[in-house]
């Protein structure tokens, strides 16, 4: 039991530490591709620190939701973080690690963020939450199909067992995992509202969906929102990494193994962040009502994988 407690504390700290790094890495890669040097790799850490010191501004017509949403958002994502062991894979306990529960914790966070968007009464927040909820509704079937395929391949509902089997196998469990990796990559792009779906950097009301919802947030609430978005990105990247490239994942607890695994994870993470940055700078933002056809393509692609996996 105490091994699990240790894992809880350890995993949360590792996630909180690494998350902002990946975000600024992606920004760095994008800046490099546009020929400018871009902000330092630790810029996100400075932003968070600055935001924490600033005062919080609430709109007069916003209700208690505005105040509660950031904390609930952060809590949900931290609990979701417990579901994805980055470094050390213990035995699953009491339903922690159930992949559906992981998905719905993300949905809980999104639910509160959307409500917060609507709360201030500004049309930007309303548009952001309306578009966010529509997109997440459309992508949901694809996510479920991909997770079902994962459950089908790894014969278990629990992410811990998935990572354990993939770590035990060392290299790729089955070739189909590469295809699943691509689908997971698409889901990552959509869930963390990266470029083709939504532009995280700008505040132009036509293009921002995720940013629209947190437009009214300020000070420490905005910091929480930024941090939770970063944690979400890290978790999804961790799933992708630990399933496709399980090299170095540690199942038995040794201090030395821990350090190596953490180091390896940071390296693998930054490579993946680089890939995401390159992918983002290679495509332009798609018009909002062209997204359903993109998601239909993704859905078709993932069902194709399953048909191959099931029938072949």
């Amino acid at each position: 039991m105490n091994g699990f407690l240790l894992y809880l504390v350890l995993n949360t700290l590792v996630v909180l530490a690494i998350a902002p790094l990946f975000v600024s890495l992606i920004k760095k890669v994008k800046a490099r591709t546009q020929g400018r040097s871009g902000p330092s790799v630790f810029q996100t850490y400075y932003n968070l620190a600055k935001l924490l010191k600033k005062e919080v501004i609430y709109s007069p017509n916003s209700s208690r939701i505005m105040r509660v949403a950031p904390i609930v958002n952060m809590a949900a994502l931290l609990v979701a973080a417990l579901f994805v062991p980055l470094v050390f894979v213990p035995e699953p306990l009491g339903g922690i690690g159930n992949i559906i529960l992981f998905l719905y914790l993300l949905a809980l966070a999104k639910f509160f963020m959307a409500l917060a968007g609507l709360d201030a009464g500004s049309s930007f927040g309303g548009m952001g939450s309306s578009r966010e909820m529509s997109i997440s509704a459309i992508i949901e079937p694809t996510t479920i199909i991909v997770f079902a395929a994962l459950v089908f391949v790894f014969k278990s509902l629990n992410i811990f067992d998935m990572f354990a089997t993939s770590a035990a196998a060392g290299t790729l469990a089955t070739p189909v995992l590469i295809l699943l990796g691509i689908s997971l990559f698409i889901i990552l792009i959509v869930e963390t509202s990266r470029l083709p779906v939504d532009n995280p950097e700008t505040h132009l009301e036509l293009t921002m969906i995720h940013e629209g919802m947190i437009l009214e947030q300020s000070g420490r609430n905005l910091a929480l929102m930024e941090l939770s978005a970063a944690v979400k990105l890290t978790l999804l990247m961790a799933i992708l990494i630990n399933l496709i490239v399980p090299f170095g994942l540690m199942t038995t607890f040794t201090l030395a193994g821990l350090l190596i695994a953490a180091l390896l994870f940071v390296v693998k993470g930054s490579i993946l962040a680089g890939i995401i940055g390159l992918f983002e700078s290679s495509t332009a933002k798609m018009r909002f009502f062209r997204l359903p056809s993109l998601f239909a393509m993704a859905f078709f692609f993932s069902t194709l994988i399953i048909i191959i996996e099931v029938f072949a």
């Binding site: 919080v56 709109s59 609990v79 809980l108 709360d119 049309s123 997770f147 009502f289």
Partner: protein
């Protein structure tokens, strides 16, 4: 032992009917509160009996009336019946508390006594339907339930839309009675008895036909897609406690009917399961898509009931398919998921209906376009509505999620064990199921956002006041039940003696609190604590107008466009210009019109056609004596020819 208590429940309910009807002359609050007290007492005792049977598994039997030979009105409460009795008891308890206050604000003078009496009759008939031991008494109380609920829907009979709702409701209940009656008679012809007894091996060809009729009868009453049209009319037309009872409990009686016949009478085949699964998925998806376009709060809740009934049918259908493919463990999990979702839906749907009833009572309108900003003036109602919204959107700590995850788990684990062709069907059903649960989250963000958040969009909602205490106590109990059922789902299942792969929601809830506390503490020490209130950012405009807010329509507009093929959306935008070269824009009309697909393409054509046939046939009676004698002449010749031929 329990039979006396069951009798006590019936007597209390009968008293609840008799007292208000007897004093229906004068419009005094005493008789109405007496009726509500009877309901509360009866539901409390009923809940006790139900829990006793559920936990100890000991059946209560009582043959009430056996006039002669084979036909008898008898009651058996086994665990399935007890579960549904628990649903009835819980919901009617809270609705009675709520309507204790709500009815006082209703107009209708002494007619309100009739309403309370009729509610008790409605609850009594539902209790007796669930407890009935043979198909005849099931049918007897099924029609009594239909009749009493018809009176409740027609309470505010002076409004034109109540008339339309009454006609829709009456026609669809008669249709459902037709199919259930046909099913019961064919069942009797097939098995020769009224009892809920398993059909032995020599299955006559009538049995599948009997199943189909019963399935149609129950799906009409449950509001499955092609027959759902009465629900979005009946619920907004009837008073809120009534629509809470109807949506929360009456739809579950139809589910109970289906499960009782599937478990106890039929040995279902594979195609039965697929039929139920298909109906469930269709209703789930279309139900929530139609809910998203509604801007009448109670119609939206009615459509979302269709969606949740669809989810329950998905669970049942899945369990039937899995038993047919002999995977009994998974079948039990999905059936448990479906039944648990029935209980949860009963709780959070009646919570939502009651709270929306308070909102409608406060703002005197049902249109969410004119609401907004109610969380400031009605804090408790908005908190209760919020708990209901989170529960129905199936978000983790609460009970909506606890039951949907069971269905998800049975889907996920059955996918790996079933033969390939069925696997494709499973995947499609799974993806549609996921789409519905995501859309329901979007729908209730829209609902909660446009009703309670931001600025009020009309004077009534600005001047709205919090509802009296009783109208908060009922929903509060329901909200508490939702939270408890959510957190202690695994413990309740183990208490009831079922091994279920449900994740321990208590642990998740505790972890959420721990993490929230952790963040709060970290922020407390590191972040600055100044807070300032200033204008919402509106690109520099000084005072923020409520008209700039995102209303319900605006929120669901992307989904209207994305699912335009299902809504058959008609986009209309004409522009009029000053000059012929269309440069100087004068005025224009832009409109998105969503078609009522089922009504315009199925219900109205059928009724127009039948009316045309009827007028043609009724010309047979054209009032001229010669034609009448001509008919007699032809009839006599026909008989003579018949005699000549046959004798």
């Amino acid at each position: 032992m329990g039979a006396e208590f069951f009798l006590l429940v019936l007597l209390l309910l009968l008293a609840g009917i008799a007292v208000p009807l007897a004093t229906s002359g004068q419009d005094r609050r005493i008789s109405r509160t007496a009726a509500h007290v009877c309901t509360i007492a009866a539901s409390a005792v009923l809940a006790a009996i139900a829990l006793f049977v559920l936990v100890t598994g000991q059946e209560i039997t009582w043959t009430a009336y056996q006039p002669f030979g084979f036909f008898s009105i008898a009651f058996v409460i086994d665990r399935l019946a007890a579960f549904f009795l628990l649903i009835i008891a819980a919901v009617s308890l809270c609705v009675a508390i709520y309507s204790g206050e709500y009815v006082e604000h209703l107009e209708g003078g002494s007619r309100r006594n009739l309403l309370c009496g009729c509610v008790n009759l409605f609850i009594l008939s539902m209790v007796l339907v669930v407890a009935s031991a043979n198909t005849l008494s099931f049918l007897f109380f099924w029609e009594l339930m239909a009749a009493s609920s018809f009176f409740l829907v027609m309470y505010e009979y002076t409004l034109p839309e109540t008339r339309k709702a009454g006609i829709f409701y009456f026609v669809m209940t008669q249709l459902s009675t037709l199919f259930v009656l046909l099913g019961v008679i064919l069942l009797y012809a097939g098995t020769g008895s009224f009892a809920f007894s398993l059909i032995r091996s020599p299955v006559s060809p009538l049995i599948p036909v009997a199943f189909l009729c019963l399935f149609l009868g129950f799906s009409i009453k449950a509001g499955i897609i092609p027959f759902h049209k009465w629900l979005p009319y009946a619920h907004p037309a009837s008073p809120s406690p009534i629509s809470a009872l109807m949506s929360g409990v009456m739809l579950k009686i139809a589910v109970y009917g289906l499960v009782r016949f599937l478990l106890d009478v039929f040995t279902p085949e594979l195609w039965w399961g697929l039929l139920i699964l298909a109906a469930g998925t269709a209703s789930a998806v279309l139900g929530i898509i139609y809910a998203l376009k509604e801007h009448d709060v109670k119609a939206m809740l009615a459509y979302s009931s269709i969606e949740n009934i669809g989810i329950i049918f998905i669970g049942i259908g899945l369990s039937v398919v899995l038993t047919a493919v002999n995977l009994p463990v998974l079948a039990q999990i999905s059936l448990l998921g479906a039944l648990f979702h029935a209980l949860n839906h009963a709780l959070f749907k009646s919570l939502l209906f009651l709270t929306s009833g308070s909102v409608v009572h406060a703002t005197h309108t049902r249109d969410i376009e004119h609401m907004g900003g109610l969380s400031h003036v009605m804090p408790y109602t908005s908190a209760l509505f919020f708990v209901g919204a989170v529960a129905i959107a199936a978000l983790p700590p609460l009970n909506g999620f606890a039951s949907e995850i069971l269905i998800f788990i049975s889907f996920f684990s059955s996918v790996s064990a079933v033969d390939p062709l069925l696997k494709v069907v499973m995947f499609i059903a799974l993806s549609l199921f996921a789409l519905t649960s995501a859309l329901s989250a979007a729908c209730f963000v829209k609902a909660f956002g446009s009703i309670f958040l931001a600025m009020p969009r009309s004077e009534e909602s600005a001047k709205a006041r919090e509802v009296p205490f009783l109208m908060l106590l009922g929903p509060a109990i329901l909200a508490g039940a939702c939270i408890i059922l959510g957190l202690f789902a695994l413990q309740l299942f183990t208490l009831a003696g079922f091994a279920v792969p449900e994740p321990d929601m208590l642990l998740i809830g505790v972890l959420l609190l721990v993490m929230a506390g952790f963040t709060y503490v970290v922020l407390h020490f590191t972040a600055s604590r100044e807070v300032r209130v200033s204008e919402t950012w509106g690109c520099g405009t000084l005072s923020q107008q409520p008209s700039t807010e995102y209303t319900g329509h605006g929120f669901s507009e992307p989904i209207d466009i994305i699912f335009s093929s299902i809504y058959c959306t008609r986009l209309k935008n004409e522009r009029m210009f000053f000059d012929e070269k269309n440069c100087h824009f004068r005025e224009g009309v832009a409109e998105i019109r969503l078609l009522k697909v089922f009504e315009e393409y199925l219900y109205l054509p059928v009724s127009r056609a039948s009316l045309r046939v009827a007028t043609a046939v009724s010309r047979f009676q054209n009032g001229c004596l010669d034609t009448y004698l001509l008919y007699v002449f032809f009839a006599v010749i026909a008989v003579i020819v018949y005699l000549g031929w046959f004798a």
